[in-house]
Symmetry: C2
Subunit: 311 residues, 2 copies
């Protein structure tokens, strides 16, 4: 089905669209801001939703900031929000482990201090965060390494200090098939300005060496995994059919929204363009069709037009 | 086609088999030795081939020892061999770059001092080997990083000091599509005793994060890539149809041999068993059929029986 451009909706169409959802989930980077520059209309539109009694959730695959740190940023930028509106892959990973791991077991973590804080907040026992660099030869390291007992899960997020010893330990703990394997998310690279000459590998690029050396697939917490939806339907009692997901990256945001049964809206201020959508639309490949959003708009600013009372 | 067990050959069959090849290529770990324990018959059989005027080549995906260091091991263990009999993925990577890289360009290397030595031996300009750990936050590192100019290739081998800065640099250099992307080999893990509780990630597990973050596929030097065959036919003038490849791991050794047009022989002293071969044989899947060797034997010791004059 072809996507609908928000700008082409009639007055009634806009009214119907606005009334078709009670919950708004939005991605952050590429939708609300780029790097630290807020995008036009972002706070007005999101605060407008809140003032019109829509539930809003900021859904991010970030796992290097705690929910509290993320909330601080939202408030600073002028978004009306509370801690429960912030859904990060780091927070949800801790939540998943709280719900699914035997509390006598500990988690081996490749990840950030923020991820450690999220685990601490839910009393999930864990270790591994921080520097773990090789200070001997690999063969001596392998001979002398002491693996901890009582490990019930391996969690991989983004880690500044990713190293061979960390990769070795994660893979080795996962040799025991009873040990859970969790990844915060699978984004391979961070978004970078298109004129940049760098590539900034992200969490997915640290998960994949663990995956191939252990020969196991992780349970993925972040978008496009639907675990977030399970969490939101259970905790926030949201009705998927009355939910709108806004994003800039189809392979995560839009696929996530469609898999959850949400309405999906793509903005062109981030990763994907109208050209991408038009190409996928022409394709017969169902994996490409899954990338096509229900709606699209130039940017979040365009959504001002759907409000019954002007913002 | 079903594989032939060496033991079931008639006297004439053994004679015909022995005379059907002039060149013997063999994998090392799992065929000639396990860890540092030489396997029964290994030196007698390989020296026997040499004494019967067969050309022998030790073909290894190793890239953390130089050819000279590998030769030293062969000689110490009692193999009649010279430097030209040793074909390692590290040596061949250097050779490939010598032949294919503009000599005014330099190579960014994730790899070992031995790999650096192989590059030095052929005067291939390179940098990157050694510790490169993060000593600031990732964002500060990214802000301040200076990428070298004049990089013509990225080469990834096994590296004790694999780290986020190395991954970042490799991916960023590869953003320029003119930069060659080379991997010594794609073996995901090192062979480990089956009763061990560890997994030891190998070169392939370090190549794959570079591959996914750069969004590019490497040119692979080691088995099962056929570059080794191109090298041997050109340099050693071997005739593939008169060549026997012996190995213990079908996904590298046997697939390599078959893709090169060699005869292939599997021994059961390493990774794969007769049960594996029987299962693949039953399958209709061509990728599984490709794993089936022409011949098999319990171990290299069994090959004593094919010699016309007893060893």
């Amino acid at each position: 089905m072809m996507s609908t451009c928000i700008d082409t909706l009639s007055v009634e169409g806009r009214f119907d669209f606005f009334n078709s959802f009670d919950n708004v989930l939005t991605d952050c980077d590429g939708v609300l801001w780029i790097d630290n520059n807020i995008l036009p209309g972002a706070t007005q539109v999101m605060n407008g939703f809140k003032n019109n009694n829509k539930n809003i959730s900021f859904v991010t695959n970030s796992n290097t900031k705690t929910r509290a740190q993320l909330l601080e940023k939202f408030l600073l930028l002028g978004f009306l929000s509370s801690i429960n509106d912030v859904i990060s892959s780091g927070f949800l990973a801790a939540r998943y482990l709280k719900d699914n791991l035997d509390p006598s077991k500990q988690v081996y973590v490749i990840g950030s201090p923020a991820l450690s804080n999220e685990l601490n907040a839910l009393n999930v026992k864990h270790f591994g965060v921080g520097e773990d660099y090789l200070n001997t030869s690999v063969s001596e390291f392998v001979d002398k390494v002491k693996l901890e007992s009582n490990v019930g899960a391996v969690l991989v997020g983004f880690d500044d200090y990713f190293s061979y010893p960390k990769l070795f330990k994660a893979a080795s703990y996962l040799k025991d098939q009873n040990v859970l394997f969790l990844a915060t998310n699978m984004d391979e690279v961070f978004p970078i300005a298109s004129n940049s000459n760098i590539i900034m590998p992200a969490t997915g690029s640290l998960v994949i060496p663990v995956k191939v050396s252990a020969g196991r697939d992780p349970f993925v917490i972040g978008k496009p995994s639907t675990y977030i939806c399970d969490f939101l339907t259970e905790n926030n009692k949201i009705d998927p059919s009355r939910t709108l997901m806004i994003g800039d990256r189809c392979s995560t945001d839009i696929v996530f929204g469609k898999r959850c049964g949400f309405k999906t809206l793509l903005v062109f201020t981030g990763v994907n363009s109208l050209k991408d959508v038009e190409e996928w639309n022409k394709s017969d490949d169902p994996t490409l069709q899954e990338l096509v959003p229900d709606y699209y708009a130039e940017g979040i600013d365009s959504l001002k037009a759907i409000f019954p009372v002007p913002l």
